[in-house]
Amino acid sequence: MTDFTLWDIARNLLLALRWTVLLSLVSFVGGGLVGLLILFARIARPRALRVAAKLYIELFQGTPLLMQLFLAFFGFGLFGVSVPAWLAAGIALILWAAAFLGEIWRGCVEAIARGQWEASASLGMSRFEQMRHVILPQALKIAVPPTVGFSVQVVKGTALTSIIGFVELTKAGTIVTNATFQPFTVYGLVALFYFALCWPLSLTSQALERKLNVSHSHY
């Protein structure tokens, strides 16, 4: 058995970390785009759209992300296509993130005072114009901290893709452990790397939140 230095371990983990970062970015951005659709459906006039969006959110928030990954992974098999793990992982994470972001943003839109809707309506604006010029610009501002906060969940969520065989940080940890027989060191490092990714995001989210509260306190 060869001896592995700490650097050997760290280097291999860092290489895999790139995939964690990439998958996180894709999931977050893709989830954001789909999440916007969910948001608009959730606050649309037609009841059917609202109900459909609510069901979508309930479904994705009420079931384990791991199951969603499995279903995406094996679901393609039903159509006779076999997809690589990264694709199934990306699709599942995007759909999952969209549900959470859509719901977070709906909360932000609903936090805008009723008076803003009424004032803009009384000026003759259409619903789209109200949304575009009055409601969304304000909702966007309060949406930033929780959205940044959710990015932490996305990064952590990517760890589950190791289970369907995508080689990112966690999977690399398992592989390296099997080669080195040093689980304590390896998983400790894996945790530290995740922490290094997530903690700055958490801190940013909290700082933005505080800033927002200060600027709103004199209302």
Partner: protein, 241 residues
């Protein structure tokens, strides 16, 4: 022909019938004060005229056009009838000037430069030309309410609805807002104001409407309504015996 014709309007919220058959004709250039106890339906009536609430039966005509719940028509109506709210409801993310410009450019498609000119004009009218770039939360309550008035005026409405527009203001700021409204009245603007400022109603208004339990209980020129109230309810409301 009257500018606003309200005929037998009924409105209920669930079990609670708030408007029980309102009839009211308002001519161009009239200044109407609506007074009455809390819960008598004053705000609801104003909100119906602006289409913020839909009516259950009866009809409201503005400039001869029937108020309907059809989106396009409603928007046309709202350009003719502006509304000022108790809580100002300025758009907090836009400067005072941009508040006044927004609906012009978005709804009326007025070119930016022209909208800006009108905004400056309107802010000047309410004595705030120098605060064009101020954000709402940099303004006092009285100033915010004056911007809200300028914002409504910029749409060139035929009438303005004011719902207790001084009630959220500190006492020392009430006068500056009432002064602006007074000047609008002198300029011939049609005004319908819900107010608790009895002196204002007495001095400025052409007619006073006393609402009670969802009905127009008494109506007449201020001298009559305040000087010789006919019904015990109005006498009690005014505190005279």
């Amino acid at each position: 022909m009257s500018l606003i014709a309200i005929t037998d309007v009924h409105k209920r919220f669930g079990e609670n019938e708030v408007l029980k058959g309102i009839d009211l004709d308002i001519a161009k250039g009239e200044v109407i004060a609506i007074i009455g106890k809390s819960g008598s339906g004053k705000s609801t009536l104003l909100r119906c005229i602006n289409g913020l609430e839909t009516i259950d039966s009866g009809s409201i005509l503005v400039g001869g056009v029937q108020l309907s719940s059809e989106e396009k028509q409603l928007r046309d109506l709202r350009q003719k009838v502006g509304m000022i709210f108790q809580q100002f409801n300025l758009f907090p993310h836009l400067s005072a000037g941009r508040n006044v410009m927004l609906a012009q450019t978005v709804v009326k498609k007025t070119p930016k430069a022209e909208a800006r000119k009108i905004a400056e004009e309107m802010l000047d009218k309410v004595g705030l030309a120098h605060r064009f770039d101020a954000l709402p939360d940099e303004l006092s309550g009285g100033q915010q309410q004056r911007v809200a008035i300028a914002r409504a005026l910029a749409m060139k409405p035929a009438a303005l609805l004011c719902d207790e527009i001084t009630s959220a203001l500190d006492p020392e700021l009430v006068a500056e807002v009432l002064q602006v409204v007074r000047r609008l009245a002198e300029d011939g603007m049609t005004l319908i104001t819900v107010t608790h400022e009895m002196n204002f109603a007495r001095e400025v208004c052409s007619r006073v409407v006393f609402m009670h339990l969802g009905r127009v209980h008494e109506i007449g020129p201020p001298a009559e309504v305040f000087g010789a109230p006919k019904t015990p309810e109005l006498r009690q409301f005014l505190g005279v015996n």
